[in-house]
């Protein structure tokens, strides 16, 4: 098993507009991207679990062209609202780093 953070060239989060968060998991080489994709370890359900939300609220994509996996979720609070803690949504990706890839 290897942690996703050791295989990806970049894992990041960002606002997709003021009401959604989006996560990009990007890879350097096609072999590594294929390995992760085929492992079935990175899924809509895992993303939902990582953030304690429902799978139906997760948008999930494999982007073969970009060698990337992408997921988007609703923000718990809209960008900049009173209880929001991350205006740009840039520090929300850490839980994805620990996903174990066979």
């Amino acid at each position: 098993m290897t942690k996703l953070a050791e295989l990806a060239r970049l894992i990041r989060s960002k606002n997709a507009g003021p009401f959604q968060l989006t996560f990009d998991i990007m890879f350097e080489r096609p072999e590594i991207y294929d390995r992760v994709k085929k492992s079935g370890a990175v899924t809509r359900d895992i993303v939902a679990q990582s953030y304690n939300i429902l799978p139906k609220d997760v948008l999930f994509f494999y982007c073969d062209n970009a060698l990337a996996i992408k997921a988007s979720i609703p923000r718990p609070f809209s960008q900049g609202d009173l209880r929001d803690s991350d205006g740009h949504g840039g520090q929300q990706y850490a839980p994805l780093m620990d996903i174990e890839i066979p």
Partner: protein
């Protein structure tokens, strides 16, 4: 029809900068127009709410000066969208004042169009009543009351208002809130280029050189749009575009990487093909544009959430750290009781919002944080109080400080001081704070009806309004 349209995007945002040398190289490639956006929602609701701009005046002036001089030298259009960060009337006026100062200093002559994006509240209420305002997903509740309490609501214009400005003779277009891509896609589509390619090239251009492999600072990007493909290359010879870097760019700040929704339709990237022309240039083909059934304009609005005071205090005592959640809830209760003593019945507990963030535990992720137990040996607490006036917020902050300092724990007997406060005074007043309150679209009767235009002839320091 022309064979190739060359488009220059000097920077990701006017005010964030670009290298002068890159810009000169790009001009030598003879672009047909220059486009740049001046903002987005990315900096947060405060700018739309307060009317301020996120980039300093001097920084915007430096970028705009180079763009304007370059565009006038080549006699090509310069189009700026989302002026002054949020693209309201006050932001547009700010951008125009910078443009006028540059024109006067540099003795430049041109016609400029100002396109307004701030929405008339009566117009929005009428469209709402007609059922022509509908929510996107997710969206907050939107009704006439929300319209009334908004500080400002802007519509995100698409290509049509830009083209109307150019058709009216504008050399320079300063637009209020605009779709970043619309700045770049309108003119090529008007010249007969494929809409799928035009919207896709626009999507890559809108962030300047952000789509290169090795961006060092914000810089220029150039696109070469042809009948059946487009190519992109950064003028700085040390920057490289690769098929992967260009394909990846459609992921950035988009919820869906394959379908990008615009006013007049959806850009479909599912069949886009990316190919290296050389080690720095990429060719793209196969992108499609699916026209929408109904033309829609996205709204962005901000309202005042209140006035805020904040205080920072940290904790090093392991006894307090191990019971931090109960300590914080006991503290909240003590603050509530003390507020009642001070204000009596004149202030209800729903009249203020008290928020205590615990850094070292879940300060960064809040409810999304999967780690529930902190292993930290110290915690930083950020106390926030938001109320209807600054005076109330500030008063409660004073109460909060004193209650927090001395809240006891069972492990110690005697008076404790539980918080280390790095600042004196311990709290500071932040003034008005805002929230976004709309994520809806309007179905207008005409793409330009929400975006009135003013036209001015500028000659050095002289500015004359032209009849439309």
């Amino acid at each position: 029809m022309m064979d190739e349209m060359r488009i220059l995007s000097p920077s990701s945002v006017c005010g964030s900068g670009f290298l002068e040398k890159s810009f000169e190289t790009a001009l030598s490639w003879q672009p047909h127009f220059i486009g740049c956006d001046g903002g987005s929602t990315d900096p947060g609701p405060s700018y739309l709410g307060s009317g301020k701009s996120v980039f300093p005046r001097q920084a915007v002036m430096r970028d705009l000066r180079l763009m304007l001089i370059g565009a006038r030298k080549l006699k090509i259009p310069l189009m700026i969208g989302s002026s002054g960060t949020a693209g309201g009337d006050v932001h547009l006026a700010w951008m125009f004042s910078i443009l006028k100062e540059i024109a006067a200093t540099e003795s430049l002559r041109f016609t400029v169009a100002l396109i307004h994006a701030e929405q008339d509240k009566k117009y929005l209420k009428r469209r709402l009543k007609q059922g022509r305002i509908t929510p996107l997903d997710p969206a907050p509740e939107f009704n006439a009351k929300v319209i009334d309490r908004s500080e400002r609501i802007v519509g995100m214009m698409s290509t049509e208002p830009f083209l109307r400005a150019l058709d009216a003779g504008a050399d320079v277009v300063l637009a209020g809130r605009a779709s970043d891509t619309a700045i770049f896609s309108g003119l090529p589509i008007q010249h007969g280029f494929d809409p799928g390619l035009a919207w896709h090239v626009a999507k890559i251009l809108e962030c300047g050189a952000a789509a290169v492999v090795n961006r060092k600072t914000p810089d220029c990007m150039m696109a070469f749009l042809r009948k059946d493909c487009f190519e992109v290359e950064a003028p700085d010879p040390t920057l490289r575009c690769t098929p992967q870097s260009i394909a990846s760019h459609s992921l950035y700040e988009n919820a869906d990487p394959f379908f990008l929704v615009e006013s007049s339709g959806t850009l479909d990237l599912t069949e886009s093909r990316y190919q290296a022309v050389n080690e720095r240039r990429v060719r793209v083909a196969g992108s499609k544009f699916i026209p929408a059934k109904h033309y829609t304009v996205k709204l962005e609005g901000a309202e005042k959430a209140g006035y805020q005071s904040v205080m920072i205090g940290s904790i090093r005592d392991p006894f307090i750290i191990r019971q931090i959640d109960s300590w914080v809830s006991r503290l909240k209760e003590r603050i509530r009781i003390r507020i009642e003593m001070v204000y009596g019945k004149t202030l209800k507990h729903t009249d203020y919002v008290l928020n205590i963030r615990i850094y070292g535990k879940d300060g960064t992720m809040g409810p999304l944080e999967p780690v529930k137990q902190t292993a930290a040996h110290e915690l930083c607490l950020l106390f926030e109080i938001t109320a209807a006036t600054q005076e109330i917020a500030s008063t409660i902050a004073g109460i909060m400080r004193h209650q927090g300092l001395h809240l006891p724990i069972p492990e110690w007997s005697g008076l404790i001081t539980a918080l280390a406060c790095p600042y004196n005074p311990a709290h500071f007043d932040r003034g008005a704070v805002y929230r976004f309150n709309v994520n809806h679209v309007v179905k207008p009767k005409d793409p330009c009806e929400m975006f009135p235009m003013d036209l001015f002839a500028v000659s050095g320091a002289r500015v004359r309004r032209i009849a439309k």
